[in-house]
Every structure is written in structure tokens, then in C-alpha cells.
Amino acid sequence: MSSAAAVEALNKTPYRYGFVTDIETEKIAKGLDESVVRLISSKKQEPDFLLQFRLKAYAQWQAMEEPDWAALRYPPIDYQEIVYYSAPRQKEQKASLEDVDPALLETFDKLGIPLSEQKRLGNVAVDAVFDSVSIATTYKQKLAEHGVVFCSMGEAVKDYPELVERYLGSVVPIGDNFFAALNSAVFSDGSFVYVPKGVQCPMELSTYFRINSDDAGQFERTLIVVEEGASVSYLEGCTAPMFDTNQLHAAVVELVALDDASIKYSTVQNWYAGDENGKGGIYNFVTKRGLCKGKRSRISWTQVETGSAITWKYPGCVLRGQDSVGEFYSVALTNHHQQADTGTKMVHVGPGSRSTIISKGISSGHAVNSYRGLVNIGPQARGARNFSQCDSMLIGDQAAANTHPYIQSRQPEATVEHEASTCHISEDQLFYLQSRGIEPEAAVSMLVSGFCRDVFNQLPMEFAAEADKLLALKLEGSVG
């Protein structure tokens, strides 16, 4: 079995989450104008500040152009063909899980995210988002005992409006970019986390995003605020059914860390990637940014990106606090006709701020995988340091990998190091494993997983094994 044949095998990837839940939904008509923005806001019974936020964003978005600088090719998106609000019909007040539609609970069960009391994940609180709304959040009581708020954005707007008003858009301004502006105008649900001063959040927090409709976009909005000396670890997971059309996912995530606070944000993204001919799949245009506002604050992004037809995302950190730390650990796997243009932005403002970037891109089939990263060191960031390492692995001879590092420094006393490498999956490594009785497919997945080890080690324990399995699954196929 040559590596070429093993590669051939990668082209038959099963997607286990491709089912559609048959459930009655409330959808508004396709298309976007100011009345739609108002309608979404009124459906969610939002306070006026939020309606104004949306309208301002909508006005800005209308004047903006879709960015075309990424190494991505896709037909123009018709924003009038998208449904901007879709929610499963269920009782308005879901006081307990008994009130949640069993079909929804079953959906999350099938996805491996049990929400019911007796089957819940051990030490993980879960917020489950289905199309445009959050349907349940587990362990809210237990978290509340520690003063930790973990709820859907919709609830946060009602229960903690002052926090939302203060921080929403404070890290990603509404006009930040085309997709962030769109999200700011029409965002539906997402998660809200608030950890008060000095509290170490006692459990992992996790949001699971599920797109179910074939014509609805998902525009979630997540906001995490961690006060002085507090810490939290948060993980998001994402899946969607297999449709032969493309669905738009344009999320915004904002993180705020005050003095000595620490946020660890992990993503396991497995949106439907389209079939082997590149038909269908999610367009994933996401803006994620963390603000290390306080001294010695720390924000760490870990992402395992395996899904989506198109991935456009650059989770970054604005390191404003003195001696603050930003980290980005990324695995992006593309197969078939998937395209990923992903990386990070580390903006060093505060003196002594440090950042680490470890990016592993794996490209197989006809996929294109680009790392795009910015390291910007401002004039005040005396003694700032950055270390970047971008490694690409190519499987087969049809795949492509690009690296676009942008380094800007206006501070002579800063240190920036960048290392990059590209390798092919080595025939000798593959043969070595085979000559020890290991099937080529398992061997390839072992090699890929080894290549990603540095990043997997950063994932919370519970999910590191998951990520490993997910990669193996993505690389699964028949070796002929």
C-alpha cells in the first residue's frame, strides 16, 4: 500500500452528524432589510439599546463590501436568499428540561451531547443552541452557587442587560468587518458567560451549536467576561446536517479578561464540509477576538477545525494589559474540496505582552489550507515577545497549503520569531507503521494525530480524545 493509495482512501469520508431533525420551526421569510432586523429584535423582546445596536450595524453593513483578500473561492452569496431567524416551536418558558421538546433532546443525544439530568457529561455544563435559539443550559444552578453566570445570550439580555450593554461590541466593534457587521445586525442566540472576581469556574463550560435548517443562517453571538483573578475554560462544538446547498454561519465571539484573569477557549468545529465533489457544506465566516484588558491577563484559543466547506476565521488577542499573554493553538484539517483560510491576530499593545502561535494545517484531496496570521507590535509594547510556528502537512499531490504571516513591529525592543515548515506525509513513516501490522488508514491517522500533538495537548482532557477520534474519523475511508 503506497501513500498515494492511502490518500485515495481519504476521499470517502463519512459524516456521522448529517441527519436532519424533523421538527416544527418558526421561520421568518427569506431576505434582509431593516424590518427584518426590527422583527428579530422584537421577537426577542429586546431593550432599545440592543435594537439601536442592530440598526447601526445594519446601516454599516449595507455600506460594506464582502472581503475578497482570503485565498478562498466560492460563488457570490445571495444575502436575500437566507432566512435570518429560525427557531423550533416550543413553549416560551422552559423552566426545566421537561419542557424541552423530546425531539430536540434526542437530537443532542444523537450528537453525543446528552442534556437530561441523569445522562449529562460529568464535569461539563452545556448550552445547546439549535438554529437560532438556545434550547437548554445544564448545571446553571450549580454554577450560580459560585456566582458564575452561564446562559444563552437571549437570557443574558433580559437578566444582565447592563453587562451586555457594557461589553457587547467592545472587543469586536460592529463595523469591524463585513461578517461581524452582519452578525451584529441579525445575531440570534449564543452563550453568555460571566465569572466574578476571584472565582475559578468549577467546571468546563461548553456550547454546542447545531444548524438544522437548509436555508437558515446561523449568526450566534458569544460573550465571555472574566473579572480580576478569575478563570474559565470554555469549549464549543458544531455540527450540521448534510444538505447539497450551502448554509452561512457568521458568528462573533468576544472575550474580555481583566487583571490576572484567564480564559481558555477551545473549539471543535465539525460543520458539514460538503460532499467529495464539493457540493454543499457550511460557509463558516467567523470573527473571534479576545481582549486581554488587564495586567497579566491570559487568553488562549485552541481550535480543531475539521468541517465547513469554507472556513474564514482568525481568532485573535488584543494584548492591552501589561505582561498579558495570548495563545493560539490550531489544527485545521481540510479534505476533498474544503477551503480554509485561518490563523490568528496577535496585537501587542501593553509592555511585556507575550504571544505564542502554533498552527498545524493538514490538507488532503483537492483541499486548500492557508494559514494567515498577523503579529502587530505597537510602540508601547516594550519587551513584547512573539513566537510563531506554522507547520503544514500535505497528503497526496492535489492538495495545497499556503502560509501568509504578516509581521508589523513599531517597537525595537520586541522579539518576534517565526518558524514555518511544510511536509508531505512520509512514505517511510507510513511503511514503518505498516510493517508493524498497522493498516494504512490507521497509520495515516496516527501520523496526522502525531503531527497535531502539540495542539491536542492544549485541549481540555475530556476533549483531547474526542479531537483525536474526530481526526481519525475525518481520515477514515476505504483503502483499496
Partner: protein, 274 residues
């Protein structure tokens, strides 16, 4: 070694003297160049063979062809392993069936835990033999016992496969794999090269321990010192893709003294096989 396992169901027992590996008139090429030009060799259970010859004479190529390296194309001839057409099997099936190659230059595999690699590989072989697979805990006990054969520190289990291992450590890791896979035919390609005296003794003792009346060993080597520790039943000398001469341990000794030129002078007909 722990060998309390039940009798394999998928592997018929071997009797001493059974022909395990039979190579007939093997021709093979790599990158368009013919390297093997008619190799014939028969190896029986209970035998230790040594294969010697100049660099480039085809020794390593022969070992890779036996193991099934995809870069090599067999253009003529056959290899039978017990009653199977070995060339029809994939590399992983050859390994599962009990053919082992100890590499001259074991590759490093960053990020892949040595323990996990050894476990998956050991289980692949066990599965073929109808033995139950070992879970992480059972395997860890098993591998720790087995490591004693090559006096390897269990700390090597926590490292990535061969990554940052010294030459000697890599070779010990190869012999450890051999011990775990319990092959019927083991080919060791210059397992002795790059070893200091102590490491050589350890590796040689390990190989000797693993050479049973029911298994066969083919040692590819340049040096008499390995053959001092492991006495071969047969010594073959390769040149230009063929076995030029076959003898017993005295042949190796003569080579050590007189060099390969002495063989070249003897003109190329194959010596009859035992």
C-alpha cells in the same frame, strides 16, 4: 517473556525444520534500476542465517522487498512464506502473519507515543493469531516485562516513536518490537551498526533469546563481531544483486580476514542451497 497465552488459532504451529521462507530467482528494481538479479534463498525454522556483502550489493533491498516496501518493484521470481505467496500480501498483512523487518534506519515519528504505537502493533499481530487484544493496562505490564530483554528503560514508552533516540536506542526499540510481535521470520538489517560494545552485546543477546527452534532469523551485517555473539548456521555473501556464495560461520571469518575481493575472484555461480 510472558507466554501464557492460549495456542494461536489462526496460525498453524511450526515444527523445527519447516521451510518458512523460500525465495526463488527474485528480481527487483527501484527507480528504474535493477538491484536484485536472481536471489534464491531458503530459510527453515530453527535456522539463523547471516547475509553479508558490500554496500550496494542488494542486502537492504532484499529485506525491503520481503517486507513489501512500495518503492520496490518485483520484476521476476517469487517469495513464499510458509504456504502463502508473500508478494501478494500487503506490508501490514506480512507483519501480521509473522514476517518482521528490523530497520537499519528506524524513522522517527514525532507526536506518536511509543507505547501506543507498540500496543497497536502488538495487538494487530495478536489479532491475527487469534489472541485477545491487550488493553492499555495489560499491555503496559507486558511491554515492561518484554523491555527487560533489551534492557530498555520504561521511560522510552512515554516518548515519541524513535524521536531523539540515539542510534543504539533505536536499535533496541527495533528488537523490542520484534519481541512484542513474536515473528516467525525476523530479518534484521544491520541491527548491529552504530552500536558500542555494550549495546551490541545487549542487542545480540536479545536477538539470541528470541531465536527459537520454531522461528528463523536472517541477520544482515557487515561485521564478524555480531556473528561472534550469535553463531549463524549459514552465511551468504551477496554481490550485484545475487547470492554469490553460501557457507557456514567459517565463511564469515574468512571474509573478515580476506575481504570481499576474495569472493569476487571466485566467479559468480550460486552455491547450492542446503
Amino acid at each position: 517473556m510472558t507466554s501464557t497465552e492460549t495456542t494461536p488459532v489462526c496460525e498453524t504451529p511450526v515444527q523445527t525444520g519447516d521451510v518458512l521462507l523460500s525465495i526463488e530467482n527474485l528480481h527487483a528494481r527501484v527507480e528504474g534500476k535493477e538491484i536484485l538479479r536472481g536471489v534464491s534463498l531458503r530459510i527453515r525454522a530453527g535456522e539463523i542465517h547471516a547475509l553479508m556483502g558490500r554496500n550496494g550489493s542488494g542486502k537492504s533491498t532484499l529485506s525491503k522487498v520481503i517486507a513489501g516496501h512500495p518503492a520496490y518493484t518485483v520484476t521476476a521470481g517469487a517469495i513464499h512464506y510458509r504456504d502463502q505467496d508473500l508478494l501478494a500480501l500487503s506490508p501490514e498483512d506480512r507483519a501480521r502473519a509473522g514476517v518482521f523487518l528490523g530497520f537499519q534506519y528506524p524513522v522517527e515519528i514525532p507526536g506518536v507515543s511509543n507505547l501506543e504505537f507498540l500496543r497497536v502493533s502488538c495487538n494487530a499481530r495478536r489479532q491475527h493469531r487469534g489472541q485477545e487484544e491487550l488493553d492499555t493496562f495489560a499491555f503496559e505490564d507486558h511491554v515492561r516485562d518484554t523491555m527487560a530483554i533489551v534492557q530498555m528503560d520504561p521511560a522510552f514508552l512515554e516518548r515519541s516513536v524513535n524521536e531523539g533516540f540515539s542510534g543504539g536506542e533505536k536499535k533496541r526499540n527495533e528488537v523490542l518490537q520484534m519481541a512484542l510481535l513474536e515473528p516467525l521470520v525476523a530479518i534484521l538489517d544491520e541491527t548491529d551498526s552504530g552500536l558500542d560494545i555494550d549495546a551490541l552485546r545487549i542487542v545480540a543477546n536479545g536477538v539470541k533469546t528470541l531465536a527459537l527452534p520454531t522461528t528463523a532469523t536472517l541477520l544482515i551485517t557487515h561485521y564478524q563481531r555480531l556473528l561472534d555473539a550469535i553463531t549463524p548456521d549459514f552465511v551468504h555473501v551477496m554481490a550485484e544483486g545475487r547470492i554469490l556464495r553460501t557457507g557456514d560461520k567459517d565463511l564469515a571469518m574468512a571474509l573478515e580476514q580476506r575481504g570481499y575481493d576474495w569472493i569476487d575472484g571466485a566467479d559468480g555461480a550460486d552455491t547450492p542451497q542446503p
